[in-house]
């Protein structure tokens, strides 16, 4: 579904991604772990062109999108990829349901009535139907993040990107967000997830990538990854975090 070839990204002189080759298949749940500053977020953000690659190719269903810079192509590419942020980034001036319907309506993905119905259905699914008219400030962190997830889903993306979706949450709220992500995974959503939740990575991931210093150093399916790490750096990292 997404094929990345020799992807590199520099911020001025700082080389953050140093030639990444990776293929993400339809329905895969790819989990990325690695130390702080290793380029996990940057990699994720290159996939939907929130950061522009400085080298390499990104083939999305065969179409090389790496060079898209403005206008229609760029926005159309982003529409098919949902992104969930660490800090939710709900729109505080809009009610919960308006948060969800804004993009589908503005981008003429659906009529206002359809978008409202769809949003209501999504809210019902996450048990927040009665919060539809609330403003984000009145929600808990876990509720905000779940709304942020369905806001992205309302665009019916083909891939979902999660960048540490539970890192900003109080511990007691992590579960409800992970449950929702897990449900999406079960339904077959293709997803790329950066997380520090090793237990969840193991449970939901179909493949785990270890990034360090702008490279994917090692990868494997979860059991092998955690029980039989090959490179010393991953062994080190796992010793520290698990």
């Amino acid at each position: 579904m997404i094929k990345v070839i020799g992807l590199s990204k520099k911020f001025d002189d700082l080389e953050v991604l140093k030639g990444i080759d990776e293929e993400i298949l339809q329905g895969e749940k790819v989990v990325i772990i690695g130390p702080s500053g290793s380029g996990k977020s940057t990699f994720l953000r290159c996939l939907n062109l929130m950061e522009f690659p400085t080298g390499g190719e990104i083939l999305f269903e065969g179409e090389n999108v790496a060079g898209y810079r403005k206008g229609k192509q760029l926005n159309a590419h982003r529409q098919r990829i949902g992104m969930v942020f660490q800090h939710f980034n709900l729109f505080p001036h809009l009610s919960v349901i308006e948060n969800i319907t804004l993009a589908p309506v503005m981008l003429k993905k659906s009529t206002k009535a359809e978008a409202l119905r769809n949003a209501a259905r999504l809210l019902d699914r996450i048990g927040l139907a009665e919060k539809a008219a609330n403003y984000p400030a009145t929600l808990s962190g876990g509720q905000k993040q779940r709304v942020a997830i369905v806001r992205a889903l309302a665009m019916e993306p083909k891939v979902m990107l999660f960048d540490e979706p539970t890192s900003a949450l109080d511990p007691e709220m992590v579960g409800e967000v992970l449950d929702l992500i897990g449900d999406l995974a079960d339904e077959g959503m293709t997803m790329v997830l950066v997380t520090h939740e090793m237990g969840f990575a193991r449970e939901v991931g179909s493949r785990i990538l270890f990034m360090d210093e702008g490279k994917i150093v090692e990868q494997a399916e979860p059991t092998t990854f955690f029980t039989n790490p090959q490179s010393p750096r991953l062994q080190d990292f796992l010793a520290k975090v698990v």
């Binding site: 982003r78 009610s95 308006e98 409202l116 139907a129 403003y135 992205a152 665009m155």
Partner: protein, 250 residues
């Protein structure tokens, strides 16, 4: 004491129907202030959007470069030239052919205000968390759509109290309109003073401004309170959503 005040009031207000002059002066002051604020808001918003868009684009297109240069030049010119001089330029050069004092004053004070308002807008836009535009853009909204629907509504709301203060500044600033022979309330006071030969009209002028400003300050405080409350509100659309059966009744 009472006698002095009543006789002053008679001389300044009643005699010769002078209250009519006061009223028309006050009307001019208030309408010029109000419409200058509108002109200032529009000019300021336009300038701010030009500058913010320029600052945020990696490779600005030539038109944007020119617009941005113009915006910067405009802002530094307005800031560098005294308001009285600007007013005279409008009255004697740009609109020399016009005898419409309202128009001259509105444009002079409005375009002046725009330069300052643009900086307020810019700060307001800058104060919005970067995550807001990222969320908008990641959904596939364009830069303009994100600006219009996500950034500006929040920025403008943050700026509202500052615009209240700008209104007060403008109100006081328009008192120099008389320099271009425009009969605002200060100028009316001057004209009447020239007939009464005492400082009483000046006190009237001072009192009028003071009362207006205190009243406006009161309004701004109310507005700030209302805005603070609105941060933790349930939404306006609730009734509509309930009617459509999209929200449960609780």
């Amino acid at each position: 004491m009472i006698d002095t005040i009543t006789s002053a009031f008679y001389r300044v207000m009643i005699y010769d129907d002078r209250w009519r002059m006061w009223l028309s002066g006050l009307e001019l002051t208030l309408t010029v202030t109000f419409f200058a604020l509108l002109v200032g808001l529009l000019a300021g918003l336009t300038l701010a959007i030009v500058r913010v868009t320029y600052d945020s684009s990696a490779k600005p297109n030539p038109l944007l470069i020119i617009l941005n240069r113009f915006a910067k030049l405009y802002i530094s010119a307005i800031r560098g030239i005294p308001m009285v001089v600007q007013l005279l330029v409008w009255a004697l050069v740009i609109l020399a052919a016009s005898r419409n004092s309202f128009l001259i004053a509105t444009l002079a004070f409005g375009f002046n205000s725009g330069a300052y308002v643009s900086e307020v807008f810019r700060a307001g836009i800058a104060s919005i968390d970067k995550g807001q535009s990222e969320a908008g853009r990641s959904l596939g909204l364009s830069y303009a759509q994100t600006m219009l629907k996500i950034i500006l509504p929040q920025a403008i709301k943050n700026c509202l109290p500052a615009f209240g203060n700008e209104f007060i500044s403008l109100l006081k600033e328009t008192s120099i309109a008389g320099m271009a022979a425009i009969a605002d309330v200060t100028q009316v006071g001057n004209i009447i003073r020239g007939r009464t030969f005492d400082p009483a009209p000046l006190f009237f002028v001072a009192a009028i401004y003071l009362i207006l400003v205190l009243f406006l300050e009161f309004l701004i405080r109310q507005m700030e309170k209302a805005l603070n409350k609105s941060d933790r509100r349930t939404g306006k659309p609730i009734a509509k959503l309930k009617r459509k059966g999209l929200v449960r009744n609780d």
